[in-house]
Amino acid sequence: MISRRKFLVTFGSALAGVILSASQLEKALAAFQSVEKGSSSQWGMIVDLSKCAGLSCQACIDACVREHNIPKIEGKHHIWWITFVKFENAFPEQTHEMLGEFKELPTLILCNHCYHPPCTKVCPTQATWQREDGIVMMDWHRCIGCRYCMAACPYGSRSFNWVDPRQYLAEITNPMFPTRTKGVVEKCIFCYHRIDRGELPACVEACPNDALIFGDLNKFDSEIRKMLGEEYTIVRKPSAGTKPKIYYILPWGEK
């Protein structure tokens, strides 16, 4: 027979253990969720496809390439931070076979700087992480090149330097921004260096048609907040639950 004393001691310590580990578990689980902070800025962008001039323009892409010394590599080692794909490729869930020209609509895609980025969650070295203002950052000196983040990104917004990128740079167009080495992942960093100086991202500044609207999602009276309240916008793969911060306005019936 088990004595009462022994029973109480065993049962009590087991209960304490469960409670203690449960409280720790809660803490551990909290680490998996990136907290949406209300106090600081949250940067977001609207891509207005009704205003975007499409493949004939490419001003935003050129500006991005020049700003960040992005190498131009053809084929399977290509690297992009912002690029055009067909509408059906950017929004596969929003298309069907009978859709006409709309399928071909050039659609600008870039890193979504998600509220819940799956890429930062999987990084084993914190080489990619989310700033308080929501920008998903990359540290090219920390990255070990395991490419787990590329597997985790549902948008294909990350590129890997399969070879030395510097041999594909005709000139260093922005000496103030680092070039990368082979073996690291790179992606759009929302021009954090320009935002910190109070400037707009290079792509937004370069757009001649005001098709890119950048701003603070936490600021109630910002232009982007007003537009998001008034216009109907969609995001890429909402089913992934990542809550992207790049919103799209579609050219209803115009194109």
Partner: protein
């Protein structure tokens, strides 16, 4: 102990030389990758994991299963399986080493690998995988080493080694589970995001790892006169059979959910893998070969007559090993990336250099397994336990008795001179003396065995 690995015949040394050659070719190829970057592989922006990670995934399973199958020996004190256990341990050590090497060669900046420890990130499954894999390698080296030393000194295993043995079993399950979580937690990849992935990994591992163990055991029996025992082999063969059946059942479950529900993000990858997509279908023949070989091997393993035939068993085990290698390697990692995240089909195929590097890593693993295995065989042969000595003698006696009992009634003797038939040689001889006047001592000139 190690000196035991330095003695061997021609066959042993030519096998070692062959493995060294593989390793050298791998090293030379890796030096090119080191210079140029991972661009020398077939991987691309769209398919950013390939042959290396595929092999890594497969070998984690081999490592895990080899131990789980073998270690219960110590818990239940069944020393009959001790030899199999030691082989299993060393197979695990070799497999884990290969896992670590495959991750290393896959890194874009391998010199920074210690960043994983310097900047620990408990939110990354890869961080946990790193911990469980290195821990696992350590436990297995300790266990195997102590088992062999206790053999030599003829003492029991100390209690703390037993603790590690107990620890190693759940740990083995954990390495493959954590590796499955590496994939199944990714919302981006419909093919991997299934709760069935970890159980499927375990089932396939329990088929592939022990298959390799059986092959190794039978090779050791043939070429090194090291018999792990028929009973041990049959037990492990049964495990392989069950595991492979469960594995195929899980595959069926997965296929049912994917193709009946028609959920596009899951369907796309499986459609590409099984039937091809947009005119691309490099993996189609491979995956069907994998499924076909798997089913065929299971049919062979289910029937006891084929399972207990050594040659057929090795053949079936080899089929299972190949089937699962394709399934875990090419059939899991690569199609997870196809179609890509912008719904284009970019195919992947390993390059020559990439294959050489992978073969080099396999060379390292097999070399480790061969050397450690040879060492273990040496120790076991030089230090048989008293029980084993007794058993060996008893077995010899038993065999003799069995021969007498079994063969006597089956034989028939005929008298050459008159054709009379006798069941016993003595009877025949008596008959020869009586009827034909031939001395009993030389009756073998007329009494012959029939047939």
């Amino acid at each position: 102990m190690f000196e035991k690995a330095l003695k061997g015949g021609k066959l042993y040394w030519s096998w070692i030389a062959f493995l060294c050659l593989l390793i050298l070719v791998g090293l030379a190829s890796y030096s090119v990758q080191w210079q140029v970057g991972l661009g020398i592989t077939g991987m691309s922006k769209e398919v950013s994991w390939g042959l290396y990670i595929a092999n890594f995934t497969f070998l984690v399973g081999v490592a895990a299963s080899a131990v789980v199958v073998a270690l219960p020996t110590y818990i239940y004190n069944q020393h009959k399986f001790e030899k199999m256990t030691t082989l299993g341990e060393f197979l695990a050590v070799a497999a884990v080493t290969m896992c670590i090497l495959f991750v290393l060669v896959d890194l874009g900046r391998p010199m920074r690998v210690l960043h994983v420890i310097l900047y620990p990130s408990p939110n990354s499954v890869m961080f946990f995988d790193f911990i469980v894999l290195s821990g696992y390698a350590l436990w297995n080296i300790i266990i195997a080493w102590y088992i062999l030393s206790s053999r030599i000194t003829n003492t029991d295993i100390s209690w703390y080694v037993k603790v590690i043995i107990y620890l190693a079993i759940p740990w083995a399950i954990s390495i493959h589970t954590v590796t499955a979580y590496l994939y199944s937690g990714l919302v981006a990849r419909g093919m991997w995001m299934t709760a069935l992935l970890a159980p499927r990994f375990l089932a396939s591992a329990f088929a592939a790892g022990p298959s390799l163990l059986i092959i190794a055991a039978i090779i050791a029996k043939r070429y090194a006169n090291f018999d792990v025992g028929r009973e041990a082999i049959d037990k492990v063969a049964q495990i392989v059979t069950f595991a492979m059946i469960v594995n195929l059942f899980f595959l069926g479950c997965e296929l049912f959910v994917v193709f009946y529900s028609q959920h596009p993000e899951h369907l796309a990858h499986w459609t590409y893998l099984l039937f091809g997509m947009d005119g691309y279908g490099k993996l189609v023949p491979w995956i069907w070969a994998s499924i076909g070989l798997g089913i065929f091997a299971v049919l062979m393993m289910i029937h006891p007559t084929t399972r207990k035939n050594e040659q057929l068993l090795v053949f079936a085990c080899a089929l299972i090993f190949i089937s699962i290698w394709i399934d875990k390697g090419l059939g899991l990692i690569v199609p997870g990336y196809i179609p890509s995240m912008v719904h284009t089909v970019v195919e992947y195929w390993p390059t020559m250099l990439e294959t050489f590097i992978a073969l080099g890593v396999w060379g390292v693993g097999l070399l480790i397994f061969t050397v450690l295995g040879k060492m273990a065989i040496g120790v076991f042969q030089d230090y048989p336990t008293e029980e084993e000595l007794k058993e060996m003698m008893e077995e010899e006696k038993e065999e003799e008795v069995v021969e007498e009992v079994v063969t006597a009634p089956a034989k028939e003797y005929t008298c050459e001179l008159c054709g009379a038939v006798f069941t016993d040689l003595d009877e025949c001889c008596e008959h020869a003396e009586k009827e034909h006047k031939i001395a009993k001592a030389s009756c073998d000139i007329v009494c012959f065995e029939k047939g």
